[in-house]
Symmetry: C2
């Protein structure tokens, strides 16, 4: 599958690299430096381009930019009609310590309002980028870590599930896009646990249901 990465930073760059190792073709767009995009393209055997180019040629997109960059990237990406977009953005303020949306809306719901023609799925926002490579390295082992995924479009969710499994996670369905108003704050909990509590940043989680 050709996956377009809109926002080739730590999260987007890492996911692009791992999806390439899982056999996908990756198109990288939108990084601080064009050199970084070119390096990612070289490393993965993919290519790099403008947001508009990468959007046009990709079967699925990952939106992985800082919340402050969303308006610019959406403008460059266009209407996104019919596109499956995996959104891992959290609506962070400029200090990355507070949310600018909630509790009765969310980044995901705002994106769906701005681009109603896209097929939105929320995922990859509740795991630090540092956990991705260790999870990928353990892929295929029993009891994989889980990843919350939410949205309304069944086909898009199915595609997201496959890409989540490609990294080594088990998808954990968490309802529709409205769930983002609760999952996006949960991303702040995982960030607290990853970066402010002992043991390093490669945090994963698993939910389980007990029998009475």
């Amino acid at each position: 599958m050709r996956i377009g990465i809109l926002g080739s930073g730590r999260m987007g760059g890492t996911l692009g690299r791992l999806w390439a190792r899982a056999g996908h073709e990756i198109a990288f767009a939108y990084a601080r430096s064009p050199a970084k995009l070119a390096a990612l393209a070289r490393e993965t055997g993919g290519f790099s381009g403008s947001v508009a180019e990468v959007t046009a040629c990709s079967e699925v997109l990952l939106l992985a930019v800082h919340w402050s960059r969303v308006p610019e990237v959406l403008t460059q990406a266009g209407a996104l009609t019919g596109k499956v977009v995996l959104n891992c953005c959290v609506p962070l303020d400029d200090t990355d310590s507070a949310l600018v949306l909630g509790p009765t809306t969310s980044g995901a719901e705002e994106l769906a309002r701005l681009r109603p023609g896209a097929r939105w799925v929320g995922c990859f926002n509740t795991t630090p980028s540092e956990s991705l490579a260790p999870v990928f390295a353990r892929k295929g082992q029993a009891d994989p870590p889980q990843l919350l995924v939410y949205g309304e479009d069944a086909g898009a969710l199915s595609l997201a599930d496959a890409l989540i499994r490609d990294i080594g996670f088990a998808p954990c369905p968490a309802g529709g896009l409205r769930s983002a108003r609760f999952v996006e704050p949960f991303a702040m909990v995982t960030a607290e646990l990853a970066y402010d509590q002992p043991g390093g940043p490669a945090l994963i989680y698993r939910f389980e249901k007990l029998r009475p």
Copy 2:
């Protein structure tokens, strides 16, 4: 230890019963019916009384009422100066489907503002009441489920940790009371997974840190 339960509903009633089985003396207050309070007291060998009575005679309190009842209960409880209060409330609206506080404040922060003399700890809000008995039944087994706990008062946190372990959970420190603005929405995620996803309501969770 004498534990006062302010709000003897599903969560407060269940925790009171299990803490009694763990050897604590339980004082129950504030339920829809006085008969329920008396039955809980009989069942556990504890006692029941008014919010003021239970507050006065308890070494630690659990606040477990619907958010809409908080003003009334705080008025009856008084200043709470020096009291350790475990808060499992989530600031839910009357439909129990939306939060009325966030994203830059939280129920826990609002409670600390209303009763600054109390020694607040947040815990037991991210696990459905249905999981408590199954977790208690498995107490002592390897790899216990975790429970997020947060606050600033080291002594109160230490006491909370012991009471969390008494139920069968491993405490998972999640920072100060400010974390409530993210943990309280996470409670909505666990509710979604418990009640709206397959497998029954007895949901538990575990975080883990991977080595690279």
